[in-house]
Structure formats: structure tokens, C-alpha cells
Amino acid sequence: MESAGSEKRLQTLFRELKLADERVAPDFIGVWNRVQTSPSPRGFRISLAVATALTVITLSSLVLWWKNWQPAQRSNQAVVSGPATPDAMPAPGLATPDHAVPVHSKSNRRNVKLVARRHPALNTTNVAIGEDVSISNWQSPTARLLQSPADHVLTSLPQLDRSLINLKTFLPDTPQ
């Protein structure tokens, strides 16, 4: 009996509490709209992660491209210096790798870089100058293959008024 009475009392107290809570409960539509309009932390986290990933990918590809571009540019400069004028061709006798002039000496390159850094406006001019220098110093990588012991026969002419004997000595393998 006492237990039932106390249970009823608890029920009453809880009911009163419920009524009081209902009075102070926030409006559902308000809460729902706030939830719908507010940017979700999850969505924000995802977009932040996507943005970070995109930035990292862009930066790394830029770095890779820059690294690849520099050697390519160097080799292009070497290729551009290809069409050498016959005047610039060194004498075949001297065309040995030991005497080969480097396309760009280190100090040269450093100087060009320094100047380019100081005067960015002169960059294009400097590139042109650099190309001219490389063209004038160009040597064919196959020049060595063209050498032979009888090069002087090909590059010189027998003098006029020479005797036949001299000619014969000049051309030892010709049938007599």
C-alpha cells in the first residue's frame, strides 16, 4: 500500500517535471533548420581533406615538372647548337675528345645565372647569347669516326709541275 502510494507520488513528480521541460523545450523547426543550414563538421572535415590533398598533389606535380623541365631545357640547348657552320668545324686532325670544348663551362653558367638573377629583364637576351656561344663551340660527337690516316690526301691537292714519281709516291697503292 505504502509502496503503491510512493510510486504514485514519483509518477506525479515526474509528470510535473515533464510539463516543466515541455515549456522550456526549444522549437523543433528552429533546431531542425539550424541543423540543416549549419555546415556539418564532417562535411567540413572532408572538404578540408580534399583541399589539402589537391594542394599537395598540385605542389608535388609542380616540383616534379620543374625538375624535369630543367634538364630538358639543357638538352634542348645542346640540340639547338647542332646545326654547326662548316667554318666553325675544327680541323679534323684536332678533333679529338681531349680537345673537346664543353658546351657550357661551370663558371660560364654561373655567370649567366647571376646576371639573370640580377637583371630578370635581360633573361631572353642572355639565353640567346648562351645559345650563340654553344653553337660556336659545338663539335660533332661523331667527328672521331671520320678520322683516318689518309686525311691529308683528301684535304690537300698535289702541286702542279710535280713529276710522276712524286705522284706515285704520293699514291703508293695505285697499280703501275
Partner: protein
């Protein structure tokens, strides 16, 4: 269940959900609102999905309870990190200055709420679900994620504790009231 239907159902349960959130947040109104908002967000994002395995009300209450516990843990960690050396802020009465405050301050309710606060969390939750939300013990077990046997135990113990503390407080109140009225009679 599509989102429109779900919204309509949630609207029906909003009052009860708020009451349950209040109970889970130890009657802190701001915290309860935040928890409820987080729950709705979870539902909208599909992080909490109703699969129709139980009643919508029990499912929703379980989500609210879980969210409240998580939020409470986060808040505790934040407080521990920020104010490790300083004293914790005194507990504020979130109902102060509101129309309901009049009711809250009524002596019986005040004592009842004080008595509720002294109860262990599980007992308080079971009593709330049964008396406030009119759920059965089975449904309360579903919400709390424990067995019906445990719920029954918490329910009986909770009722006993609540009754005892209410009686004690009434007795104290009676003595103090008598002291005020006839100071010589008590001493």
C-alpha cells in the same frame, strides 16, 4: 523511411527527446540542446540510421544517450586540458531567469531534482525512461543497451533510493521548518 517522414516523426517526439536529453545531460539545458542538435545532424548525415529493428522512440533515445555520453566525455577532456590547474567553474542553474524557473524553484520539485541527482546514472536513467517517458522495462533495456534483468535491478534500487532520499529531505525540511517556527521545541 524518407527524410520527410522521419522529420515528421522526430517532430512528434521532440518534446520527449528534449526531456531525455536533459536527463542525460544532468539537467543542463544548453548541453541538452547541443546534444539534440548533434543527434539531428547525425540523422541528416546518415551517421545514425533507423533500420526499423526497434521502435523509433527507443532507437532515437539510444542515439541521444550515446551522443550525450560522447559529448560529456569530450567536454570533460576539454575541461581537464584547459583547467588542469584552476578550479572548475561552479555549476550554473540553466533555468534561472526563465518562466519555468518559478516551477523549478517550488520546494517539492527542488527536492525531487536534488534527490534525482544523488542517484547513480543508470538508476536515474531507468526511472526517467519508465516514469517520465512511459517506456516499459524492455524498452528501457533497449535504449540503455543492457539486459532486462539489469534494468529491473536498477529500477528497484533507484526507486528505493529516491524514496529514501525524498523522505530524508522532507524530514530535514520539516525539522528546519519547525526550528524556524518554534526554535525552543527542537533543542
Amino acid at each position: 523511411m524518407d527524410i520527410q517522414e522521419l522529420q515528421a516523426e522526430l517532430e512528434k517526439l521532440h518534446g520527449a527527446s528534449f526531456g531525455w536529453a536533459l536527463s542525460c545531460c544532468r539537467r543542463d539545458r544548453a548541453e541538452a540542446e547541443e546534444v539534440l542538435q548533434t543527434v539531428y545532424l547525425k540523422i541528416l548525415e546518415g551517421k545514425a540510421r533507423y533500420r526499423g529493428e526497434s521502435q523509433l522512440k527507443t532507437w532515437l533515445f539510444a542515439v541521444i544517450r550515446k551522443t550525450a555520453i560522447t559529448e560529456q566525455r569530450k567536454r570533460l577532456l576539454r575541461i581537464l586540458k584547459l583547467t588542469a590547474a584552476s578550479n572548475p567553474a561552479p555549476e550554473q542553474d540553466s533555468f534561472a531567469g526563465e518562466p519555468a524557473a518559478t516551477f523549478e524553484r517550488s520546494e517539492a520539485q527542488k527536492q525531487f531534482q536534488l534527490a534525482l541527482r544523488t542517484l547513480p546514472a543508470r538508476q536515474r536513467e531507468v526511472l526517467h525512461l519508465v516514469f517520465y517517458e512511459d517506456l516499459s522495462l524492455r524498452e528501457a533495456a533497449d535504449v540503455m543497451g543492457i539486459s532486462i534483468g539489469s534494468v529491473r535491478q536498477h529500477y528497484e534500487r533507484g526507486k528505493k533510493h529516491l524514496r529514501e532520499s525524498l523522505n530524508r529531505e522532507e524530514l530535514d525540511y520539516g525539522i528546519s521548518w519547525q526550528r524556524k517556527e518554534t526554535p525552543d521545541a527542537v533543542s
